[in-house]
Amino acid sequence: MSQATMTRNAIQIKDLDLYYGEKQALKKINMSIEEKTVVALIGPSGCGKSTFLRTLNRMNDMIPGVRIDGTITMHDEDIYNKEIDVEMLRKEVGMVFQAPNPFPKSIYDNVAYGPRVHGQRNRKILDEIVERSLRQAALWEEVKDRLKDRATGLSGGQQQRLCIARTLAVEPEIVLMDEPTSALDPISTAKIEELIQELKQKYTIIIVTHNMQQAARISDRTAFFLNGELVEEDKTERLFSNPKDQRTEDYITGRFG
């Protein structure tokens, strides 16, 4: 089927509508996300960017009264198909949250948690996964001597990198990040931004951010959401330097939001 194109789409979103009860939170979203790119979702609070992010790993399923129309395709399959195993989907589509949320367990157990749940019992393999994931999250050097310490004793920035390592440990293809630096200080934020640049070699990253400078610094493409609509989606430089839509221009020049 696929021609010899250089890039492949990781996700294809077609006519996506989402309703919370009566209220429509996402309106006819159409978007393609290429493999191994960083896509930033920006927009004012309540514009639907986080809701959109959570449709991609079906985290919205847990909210009562949510209804979804349209299709989201990954690997030629609609992830909202009834046959889909949500747990398998979430293994492929990892997520990092706004506030660091490590389990009240040791650093090691946090990272090994996902592989264990998915059936990995071999101690040696787990050790390897933990080390590799912590290295990928640029945390290994800081914690390698205290893997048995409680994760809640780490600093906020370290906790967030631990959460990233925990997500990487189940070897997802796509990593969703919901304002991952909004609770962190500037130095930790810089570390995570650097990390995102590294991770892009292997993963497709979709990141919600409130911070337009951050979007400009780290993303290949940027999507601007407003009132549940995808207003504009383009290469990041182009969206910030030469937006097509007046509303995008108003937002990025700080006229509202």
């Binding site: 979430r90 997520m95 490590p102 389990f103 009240p104 749940v117 959460c163």
Partner: protein, 310 residues
């Protein structure tokens, strides 16, 4: 002084002196109320200690804690004061209660906290808590007239009074306590930790069992200990359903006597004040008090020592 006087009634003068006095008395009254329970506790401990001391001047410590026969209410020539049969009876009933209440209580808590939709748990939890308020004598008759006949249908050799029936019903009695306290502990686990697990591809049951329960473990264990300390102190159910045969046995089909049911039997009998049998009530009461005190301290220690920080 300034020239102009303050006039007849200065705006900020203390005019309502009666109200002021009353206001000053309130903390003292409240303190007095709080002290009532403190003094009561001290009084109870004092009485227990003094009566227990006088009991041990007649019966040796060694006999109390090493002998295996308890015949405190027999004629003086046949009296034995080895407390172990009563402790064994108490532990047997408590053990059976734990086997019933711990899994069911925990399962109920998991259901309420993780599975039930909020509307259902809003109805279920108060019902559970009402169950905790049923007088224990009602449970006692439930044991004797419902559970025991049922069990004897399965185990025909078993007597009317047995530890099994009492233990099961004591267990049923403490299920609401364990379920309610465990549910509180599990509900206190932050939502974002659950989300992290879901986002990694965990099923609901994996989230409940491998994230929420471990995170709430201190509260859950504290609820077990508190529940069991109530089982140890439970009186009416065992008095009615377990019989009054002090014997050193771990056979649940036997009739046993617990520490509490001995106290009931001795206190409602006609032991003369100051007799050794009368003193035995206090010695057993002291033992029971120490048991439940240790359990309660343990519960407090566990919930403090292993308090989770999220």
């Amino acid at each position: 002084m300034k020239n102009h006087s303050l006039g007849t009634a200065g705006r900020f003068r203390r005019s309502r002196s009666l109200g002021r006095t009353w206001e000053n008395m309130i903390p003292k009254l409240l303190l007095a109320c709080a002290l009532i329970s403190v003094f009561t506790t001290l009084g109870i401990i004092g009485t227990l200690i003094s009566e227990t001391t006088s009991f041990f001047s007649q019966v040796s410590f060694g006999e109390f804690f090493t002998e295996t026969k308890w015949t405190a209410l027999f004629h003086e020539s046949q009296q034995h004061f080895g407390v172990w049969p009563l402790i064994a009876g108490t532990l047997l009933v408590t053990g059976i209660a734990a086997i019933v209440a711990v899994p069911i209580g925990l399962a109920s808590a998991i259901y309420l906290s993780e599975y039930a939709n909020p509307k259902v748990s809003k109805v279920l939890k108060p019902i559970l808590e009402v169950l905790a308020g049923v007088p224990t004598i009602v449970y006692g008759f439930f044991a004797l007239t419902f559970v025991t006949p049922l069990l004897r249908g399965l185990l025909p050799e078993m007597g009317v009074f047995n530890a099994l029936s009492a233990g099961i019903v004591v267990g049923i009695m403490i299920i609401p306590l364990i379920a309610s306290l465990s549910e509180d502990a599990m509900s206190a686990v932050p939502k974002n930790i659950r989300e992290a697990a879901y986002a990694m591809g965990c099923t609901k049951f994996e989230v409940a069992l491998k994230v929420v329960v471990p995170a709430a473990l201190s509260g859950i264990i504290a609820s077990f200990v508190l529940g069991l300390s109530r089982a140890i102190g439970e009186t009416m159910i065992v008095t009615i359903a377990a019989g009054s045969t002090p014997q050193l046995t771990l056979d649940p089909t036997e009739s046993v006597q617990t520490m509490t049911s001995f106290i009931v039997q001795a206190a409602t009998g006609d032991n003369s004040f100051g007799s050794t049998a009368y003193g035995a009530i206090y010695a057993v009461g002291m033992t029971l008090f120490l048991f439940t005190l240790v359990m309660n301290l343990l519960a407090q220690y566990i919930s403090r020592r292993f308090k989770e920080e999220y």
